[in-house]
Symmetry: C2
Subunit: 456 residues, 2 copies
C-alpha cells in the first residue's frame, strides 16, 4: 500500500518557515531550522519555492554549515550542487568537508566542471585527495559509493587495545563491524562491536575474529553490492582492491538509497521516463526528456499503421475489421507487459539466470496460449453479440491466440536478449514489445480476416 500521510509534523515547520521568511525574522528562522533533523530539513527545503529555498539554505549554511550540508546531502547530490553553485570554490571546499567522503564526492561531481576542478584542487591538501580518488571510479560501482575512511584494527591487537583505539577515533561514524587487517592492510577478518564486550580484555583479536567474511571489489556494480548486503542481512560491507587490501566500507543506509534508486530506475525505464525526471522537474525539461521517447514510439506506431494500410481494401469492404483490430493489438500489449514485468523484475532481483531461462520461456509461452484462449473465447462471444457475425468472432479469437503467444514469447526473449547484449532490459524492452504486438496483432487479425472476407 502506498501511504500518504494527511497531517505531517513537518507541515507545521514548513508553515512557520514560510511565515518567518515573509516577516524577515532571520534569527527566529535560524533557531527553528537548527532544531530540525537533517532529513526533515531536506523535506522542508524541497517544498519551498526556488527563491525561498535558496534563501533558507544560504542562511543556514553560514551559521551551521554541518547541518545545512547534511540536509543538502539528503536532497540528493544534483540539487545540492545546484544550491552551492553560486558560492566560491573556497566556501564549497569548506562546506563539503563537513560530509562523509562519499557524499562529498557525489556533490562535487555535479558541480560545473571548472568549479569542480577548483574545489578538488583546494581540498587536495586535506581530504580532497580522497574525494578526487572516489571520482576516478566508474559511476554506479562500489568504489564510487564507498566511504574510504574505514575503521580498521591490526590483527595483532588485543580486545583492550581495540576498545582503546575505538575510543580514540571519535570521528568514525556508524561503526558496526570492526574490520581486521594484517600489516600490509590486507583484509583478514571481522569482529562485531558486541563481541568485544563479551570476552576478556587480553584476548587477541586473531582468536576472536571471524575469517569467512564477505567483501566486494571496488569495481563491483552497486546493484550487486546492494543484493549482497540485502541477502546476507549485513549492516555494512567492506570494499577491497585487487590485492584484497581494505580501501573502504559501504553502510546499509547507502545500500537503501541504491535499492530505492534502482527500483525507481526500473519503474521509469519500463514506462519510458528518464530516471532524473521527477514530479517537480521543470515542465520544459521534462518535455525535453520525454519527447524523444515518444518520437521513437511514434515511429513504431507508423510502422503498425503501415501494416493496417496494406489491408485498406479489406477494411473498405468490411468496416467491422477496423472496429475490432485495436482490441487484438491492445490485448497483446497488455499480456506482453505482464510477462515483461515479471521477467525484468526477476532479472533485477537475481532470480532469473541463464541456467533457468529456458524453463521461464516454456512457462510464459504456456501462459500466453492460455491467456489467448481465455480472452479469445470471451472476445469472440462479445464480437458475435455486438456485430452479429460468428465468423468475425472466430477470426478475432484466432488472431488473439496467435498474438498473445507472440506477446508472451517476445516478452521473455527480448529482455533476455538485451541482457545478453549488455543493454538494460528495462530500458528498451517495452518499445520493442509494443511494436511487435501491434504489428502482429494487426497482421494476424486483418490477414485472417482478408482470407475469410466473404464469410464476414
Amino acid at each position: 500500500m502506498v501511504a500518504m500521510p494527511v497531517h505531517r509534523k513537518i507541515d507545521v515547520v514548513l508553515d512557520s518557515v514560510k511565515r518567518l521568511q515573509r516577516m524577515g525574522a532571520t534569527a527566529n528562522l535560524l533557531n527553528l531550522l537548527q532544531k530540525q533533523h537533517p532529513a526533515d530539513l531536506a523535506q522542508v527545503f524541497s517544498e519551498l519555492n526556488e527563491r525561498d529555498r535558496h534563501a533558507a539554505v544560504s542562511v543556514l549554511l553560514d551559521r551551521n554549515s554541518r547541518l545545512a550540508m547534511e540536509a543538502l546531502s539528503e536532497l540528493g547530490p544534483e540539487v545540492a550542487a545546484s544550491l552551492l553553485a553560486d558560492r566560491s570554490a573556497e566556501e564549497i571546499a569548506r562546506f563539503v568537508q563537513e560530509l562523509a567522503t562519499d557524499d562529498a564526492a557525489a556533490i562535487v561531481d555535479y558541480l560545473p566542471e571548472e568549479l569542480s576542478q577548483a574545489v578538488l584542487e583546494l581540498m587536495r591538501k586535506k581530504e580532497g585527495a580522497d574525494v578526487g580518488n572516489l571520482l576516478e571510479y566508474e559511476e554506479q560501482t562500489a568504489g564510487r559509493i564507498m566511504n574510504p575512511n574505514v575503521f580498521a584494527l591490526s590483527e595483532d591487537m588485543t580486545v583492550a587495545e581495540a576498545i582503546a583505539a575505538l575510543q580514540a577515533s571519535r570521528d568514525v561514524e556508524m561503526v558496526f563491524y570492526l574490520y581486521v587487517v594484517d600489516e600490509r592492510r590486507h583484509l583478514v577478518g571481522v569482529v562485531s562491536l558486541r563481541r568485544l564486550l563479551l570476552v576478556a580484555p587480553d584476548t587477541p583479536l586473531k582468536r576472536l575474529m571471524a575469517t569467512d567474511l564477505i567483501s566486494v571489489r571496488v569495481e563491483t556494480d552497486q546493484e550487486d553490492v546492494a543484493r549482497q548486503v540485502a541477502s546476507y542481512n549485513l549492516l555494512a560491507i567492506p570494499v577491497v582492491d585487487e590485492e584484497n587490501k581494505l580501501v573502504g566500507v559501504i553502510t546499509v543506509d547507502d545500500v537503501i538509497d541504491v535499492i530505492k534508486d534502482e527500483a525507481t530506475e526500473d519503474i521509469y525505464r519500463l514506462a519510458g521516463v528518464s530516471s532524473d525526471d521527477h514530479i517537480f522537474t521543470p515542465a520544459r525539461e521534462s518535455l525535453r526528456k520525454r519527447l524523444p521517447w515518444l518520437w521513437v514510439n511514434l515511429g513504431t506506431a507508423f510502422l503498425a499503421a503501415s501494416v493496417v494500410k496494406l489491408f485498406e481494401g479489406a477494411i473498405g469492404k468490411v468496416t467491422a475489421l477496423a472496429v475490432f483490430m485495436p482490441v487484438v493489438a491492445g490485448m497483446g500489449g497488455n499480456a506482453a507487459t505482464q510477462t515483461l514485468t515479471v521477467i525484468v523484475r526477476g532479472i533485477a532481483l537475481g532470480e532469473l539466470t541463464w541456467s533457468n531461462s529456458r524453463k521461464a520461456l516454456v512457462k510464459e509461452a504456456l501462459v500466453g496460449v492460455g491467456n489467448g484462449v481465455g480472452c479469445g473465447v470471451v472476445a469472440a462471444l462479445g464480437a458475435w453479440a455486438l456485430q452479429g457475425s460468428a465468423a468475425l468472432g472466430g477470426v478475432l479469437a484466432l488472431a488473439m491466440i496467435i498474438n498473445m503467444f507472440v506477446a508472451a514469447t517476445a516478452g521473455t526473449l527480448i529482455p533476455l536478449t538485451l541482457r545478453a547484449l549488455k543493454v538494460d532490459p528495462a530500458l528498451a524492452s517495452s518499445v520493442f514489445i509494443t511494436t511487435l504486438t501491434d504489428v502482429f496483432g494487426f497482421m494476424s487479425f486483418l490477414g485472417i480476416g482478408s482470407l475469410f472476407l466473404r464469410f464476414l
Copy 2:
C-alpha cells in the same frame, strides 16, 4: 543497470548438490549444505526442481533445523510454509521456534488454516503466544513485522549494569541501539552500543541516553516505517503501543525487504500483475492470476471498439481513418504512462503531497500540450507523406494534441483520486488511463475526421 553475473559461486554448489542427490550420497550432501550461508542455501533451493528441493530441505531439516529454517525463511514465508506443510504440527512448532518471532509468525500465517491453528496451540506454552499476538496485527503494519523480543534497559541502571545485562542476554541478535524504559515499560530514551564503551562505568543511563528518539506505533503502515528508517538513516526503529510502551523493534534488514517488496508491488501493479506472481510460479497459477486483469482490459477494449463502431460510416468512406486511429490512441497511452509513472512513484517516495499536487497538475498539463504539439506536428508530416493528404495530417495533429492533454491531466488526477479514496494508485490507474486514452483518442480523431470528411 541490471547486473546478472555470468559465473556465480553458488553455481558450483548447485551442481554439486545435484550430483550428490543423483548419487544418493546423503552424508556428503549434508556436509556440503551445512557449510553454506542461509542466503546461499535459499538460492540453491530455489533453483532445484520441486522434488529435489523437497528432498534437500527435508534432509537438512532433520539434521540442522536452525540452518534449514533460516534458509527457508530467506525463500519467503509462502514457499517455506509449502515446504513444511507435510510435516506434523509438533515438528513444525519445533522448527519455527528456531526463527525470530516475526519470521516464525509470517510462515505460520501461510500454513493451511487447520495446521496453523494446531501449531499455534502447541507453541502457546512457549513463544507461541508471541507468534499468535503478531498475527493479530493487521497485515503490512509495524506490529506484523516487528520482533517482540526487544532488548530494553531500565532507566535506573548504570553503564556497568547495562553491559552486564547485555552480556547475560546472549540470544538477542542484532543489537544496535539499546532502548531505555521506565518502570512501566514506557519508552524514554536510547543509547548506542558504542557510547557505552566511551563513558565511565558508573554513569547512569539516564544521563547518557538521547531522549528525542524516533518510534513508530504498532498500527503504522510498513511502508511508512521503511520511509522513516531510510530517511533518518536508522539501523532499527522501536515500536510502541498506544500508551507509548515498548513492544517491539524493526531492524534495517526487515526494512530492506519491505522496500524491495513494495517496489516490486508497485512495478507489478502498474503492469497488472499480482504481487505473488513470480518467474517460477506454476503456469496454471500465473494464468489464474493474470486472466482476470486481462478480462477487465478486454471490457475496456470493447468500450473503445464501440466508439469506433459509431464512426463505421466515416471509415467506410475514408479507410485512411482506420489506418491512423491506432496512432492517436496508442500515443496517448504512451504519454499517459509516462505521467502516471512519475506521479505514482512520487506518491510512493513521499514527494507528492496534497499541498503540492496542484503544482504537479499544472506542470503535467503543460508537458501534455507540449508533447501533443511535438508529436502531432511530426505525425501530421508523416501522414501527409504516407497518405498524400494535408487535411488528414491536420486532423491527426489536432486529435493528438487533445488526446495528450487528456492523457496528462488524467495521468495526474486518476492516481490522486484513487489515493484520496484510499485505493492504491498503482493498482487501478493504468486500466482507467488506457480506457480513457483509447476512448478519447478514437473519439477525437474519428470525430474531427467526420466533421472534415469531405476534405480528406
